[in-house]
């Protein structure tokens, strides 16, 4: 393996950033690393748009009366928040940025299998995002991100088709990325990089890709059917013209529940990288963590009905979905226990990425356990469609996924840019995110059990105290996101050179220079050891 030593003139080395200049060199690039950066910028923009909607929602909910905006506007706020965050931030977030950048590097490949398709998938994403943004600019959508029929197909007077087309298009981007990853992981591993030596981040992206390829076509078809019914009155979901509204929910959740795992699995992959690196120790139970990703991907396809316990679905179907929901929690629990065990007798450092990993494990545990409340039939009837659900999925999606994403960005930022960020600010904002997140979403569990329904523009006054807490927390959370945006941007110019391996991490991506050269490695690496072989080195080289 190549051993790149610290070089004071790192930034002068030829790398993927300075190999070419000019906008064309970015917009027509086939380099997976540059495409990852394009995605990084795009999803950051989408995250900010989604985040502004979130803050507007929280501002409105500060008082029980619907006094800041009218109901239609509020309904558009939460719809656009959901659509933007789910389809244009969470789903592409880790796979399209960190995955795109590091999956090829971690397996010792010089690019993805289909670099042109990779670029195409970004363009498709941008086209989808353009439709979604057009829907916002033209006047918004008010169906909720779930597009439930017959409201979406017949009753809503907003830009449903435009938004649905946006999501439909973005789906193809997701499918192509998944396909690209699957082929790359199968065919482009470096000599010696056996399946049993794959970093767990790669395993997680592999499992995610399977779901993307198998599940996304279903939601695309479903939304196309909504658009057809809306445009041409073909009776599919609206009972007034012979359709079935519940059919929509089956089709929608058949994708959208597995999509939850599209969002969280890559985050789990990131955590496996962080916990090992900052405990400086091999992962505890490698095959169980890798296998549990596949387990989640498979069982995740069989639990969609737990979103529908109060729709009047057969109680025997409910029984089956409730049981499988318990089953799908097992692989998630396995991961949490194994990460914890990895720290046992480790050498734990508290660098920023590890703080995010601690946060992830804690918040994901709460998110997962409250998911069991919702999978339990007797409790779900009371809490479904209340703020309890809102709190639960934000614990998984934000407390879990977004924290993992932030952790991953902080972990790999030195590799991607060759620069270090200010560690003090980074730790401070990680703490803000953790505190702000809990202040925002924990009170919602209580409001939910009390009965506050979700998607309410105005609410009963007794819920106000919890909503004030939420809004105050959201302010802190917003600040916690803003600070990294500032210091990461700052570090591009003023950050100290990172060196090739600032964390003393294992993994092929750390063996090349920072930022990496265009084709990642000087020569194809040969892999001779398992992943996370921290004990193999006599002395950890830092820098």
């Amino acid at each position: 393996m190549s051993t790149a030593l610290a070089d004071p003139q790192l930034t002068e080395q030829p790398n993927y950033l300075n190999s070419e200049y000019g906008w064309k060199s970015w917009l027509f690039t086939k380099d997976h690393k540059r495409i990852a950066i394009l995605y990084l910028i795009s999803i950051t923009v989408m995250f900010m748009i989604g985040g502004i909607f979130a803050l507007l929602i929280r501002l409105e909910l500060l008082t029980p009366e619907g006094d800041m905006v009218n109901s239609d506007t509020y309904n558009k706020f939460f719809t656009m928040h959901g659509v933007v965050m789910v389809f244009f931030f969470l789903i592409p977030s880790i796979p399209a940025t960190l995955g795109n950048f590091f999956v090829p590097m971690m397996i010792g490949a010089k690019d993805l299998a289909f670099p042109r398709i990779n670029l195409l998938s970004w363009y498709i994403y941008i086209a989808g995002a353009a439709f979604a943004l057009a829907a916002i600019v033209m006047g918004g959508v008010d169906t909720g991100w779930t597009f439930y029929t017959p409201f979406s197909s017949t009753y809503s007077n907003t830009f449903v088709i435009t938004a649905a087309v946006g999501v439909f298009i973005a789906g193809f981007s997701s499918i192509l990325t998944g396909l690209n990853f699957i082929v790359t992981i199968h065919k482009m591993r470096a000599p010696g990089m056996t399946w049993g030596r794959l970093p767990l981040f790669v395993w997680a992206n592999y499992a995610t890709s399977l779901i993307q390829v198998l599940g996304t076509p279903v939601v695309a078809i479903t939304l196309a059917l909504v658009a057809l019914e809306r445009a041409f009155h073909i009776g599919i979901f609206d009972p007034a013209i012979g359709g079935d509204p519940i059919l929509f929910q089956h089709m929608f959740w058949f994708y959208s529940h597995p999509a939850v795992y599209i969002m969280i699995l890559p985050g789990m992959g990131v955590i496996s990288e962080l916990v090992t690196c900052f405990s400086r120790k091999g992962i505890f139970g490698y095959s169980f963590i890798a296998g549990s990703s596949l387990g989640i991907a498979i069982i995740g396809f069989l639990v969609w009905g737990h979103h529908m316990f109060v729709t009047g679905m057969s109680m025997y179907a409910s029984l089956y979905f409730s049981f499988l929901t318990m089953l799908v929690a097992v692989p998630s629990a396995i991961k949490v226990f194994n990460w914890t065990a990895t720290m046992f007798r480790g050498s734990i450092s508290y660098d920023t990425p590890m703080l995010y990993a601690f946060g992830f494990i804690g918040l994901f545990t709460i998110g997962g356990l409250t998911g069991l409340f919702l999978g339990t039939l007797g409790i779900d009837v009371h809490v479904t469609d209340t703020y309890f659900v809102v709190a639960h999925f934000h614990y998984v999606m934000v407390g879990g996924m977004v924290l993992a994403y932030m952790g991953g960005v902080h972990f790999w930022w030195p590799k991607m840019t060759g620069k270090l960020y200010p560690e003090g600010w980074a730790k401070f904002s990680a703490l803000l995110v953790f505190a702000g997140f809990n202040a925002t979403f924990f009170p919602q569990f209580i409001a939910g059990y009390l009965g506050q329904p979700r998607r309410y523009h105005a609410y009963a006054p007794e819920f106000q105290v919890y909503n004030v807490m939420s809004t105050a927390g959201a302010t802190i959370l917003g600040l916690g996101y803003l600070i990294p945006l500032i210091y990461l941007t700052w570090s591009l110019r003023y950050g100290k050179p990172a060196g090739n391996n600032p964390w003393g991490a294992k993994g092929l991506e750390w063996e090349t220079t920072s930022p990496p050269p265009t084709y990642n490695f000087e020569k194809t690496p040969i892999v001779t050891e398992e992943a996370y072989a921290y004990s193999h080195q006599k002395e950890i080289e830092v820098g």
Partner: protein
């Protein structure tokens, strides 16, 4: 600062007990994981930049233990939750009927005795109440947090839910499924009353006669009575005594004449033709009659008992899944 909702129905304490059980298990689990991470993070903190801990690859025993034990605990959640769910799936036979129609953005409630109200529901305590739910437009959801009950109200079919109120008081009624502009305004109050107060309430205030009488009026107005004669065979089947009975269809199948069947026969008469009758005789009433009107007609038909026999019992059969519901308990029977 309220922390728990009022428990005002017979199942509310059961749901709360289960909720506490899950909460306590979850708190213990979370505390255990937080504490372990905290202890490890402190105890095994990096003391020198070059230290290299000894590798530990894993332990099959531990993996099995922390897969199987949590799963067994989860099975207790599953079992207890399913028990409550199943025990409350169908209403008891002696439940009193109330009919609620959701439309953008209000709840219209009617009682067999003829009382009607909007965004209000009055119920006696100590007596099971079965609510038959219909929607005029989109999906709504009938949610009474104090009773821990909720059921979606899906257009194109009937759903039912039931509860027994236990404490007099006024409780929130919410629409829990997003239904458009004034979704958060689709709220009302449930008033649980002592039985004697309830009887007083039921007889106070004017009413246009019982639901059955209103249904009878509609039956005349809509011209149903010209073909469905009451006591002799007309062009269409006699409806006396049909409610709750088994009806032979012309294609050899048979169905129980429940709410869902009667509703379908009014809106889509050709869907199921009674044996011995021809299709295309009865016109559809789709779009000509409100959901409330259909409910009145159903109550009227239900009241048409054969002389000397009691009117049809309130079976749980009205929950019948529409043909749409592929997983419905009646799928395949229709």
């Amino acid at each position: 600062m309220p922390f728990l909702p009022v428990a005002a129905s017979s199942i509310a304490p059961e749901v709360d007990h289960l909720f506490w059980y899950l909460s306590i298990v979850s708190i213990i689990m979370t505390a255990l994981i937080f504490l372990t991470i905290f202890i490890f993070a402190v105890k095994y903190r990096r003391r020198s930049p070059n230290e290299v801990p000894k590798p530990i690859h894993g332990s099959l025993r531990l993996e099995i233990a922390w897969s199987v034990i949590p799963f067994l605990v989860m099975l207790t959640f599953f079992w207890w939750g399913a028990e409550i769910f199943f025990a409350n799936a169908s209403p008891p036979a002696d439940a009193m009927d109330v009919y609620a129609v959701g439309k953008q953005w209000m709840w219209k409630v009617q009682y067999p005795e003829g009382q009607r109200e909007i965004n209000e529901l009055h119920v006696p305590i100590g007596r099971p109440v079965k609510v038959t739910l219909a929607s005029e437009d989109v999906i709504h959801s009938f949610f009474i947090p104090a009773f821990r009950v909720k059921h979606d109200v899906v257009p194109g079919r009937y759903d039912t839910m039931w509860f027994t109120a236990t404490k007099p008081g006024r409780y929130h009624l919410f629409c829990a499924e997003y239904c458009g502009t004034e979704h958060s305004g689709m709220v009302g109050w449930v008033t649980a009353m002592n039985p004697s107060d309830y009887e007083n309430w039921l007889t106070s205030g004017g009413s246009d006669g019982s639901m059955a009488q209103q249904g009878e009026k509609l039956f005349q107005q809509m011209g149903c009575s010209t073909c469905h004669l009451l006591d002799q065979q007309g062009r269409c089947p006699i409806l006396r005594g049909v409610y709750g009975s088994r009806v032979q269809l012309s294609d050899g199948r048979s169905v129980i004449a429940d709410d869902a069947y009667i509703r379908e026969s009014i809106l889509n008469p050709n869907a199921k033709i009674v044996a011995g009758f021809r299709p295309d005789i009865m016109p559809t009433f789709q779009g000509q009659i409100s959901e409330e009107g259909i409910l009145q007609l159903i109550v009227y038909i239900k009241s048409l008992a054969i002389e000397g026999t009691p009117s049809a019992p309130n079976g749980g059969t009205t929950t019948a899944g529409q043909p749409s519901n592929a997983f419905g308990p009646n799928a395949g029977k229709q």
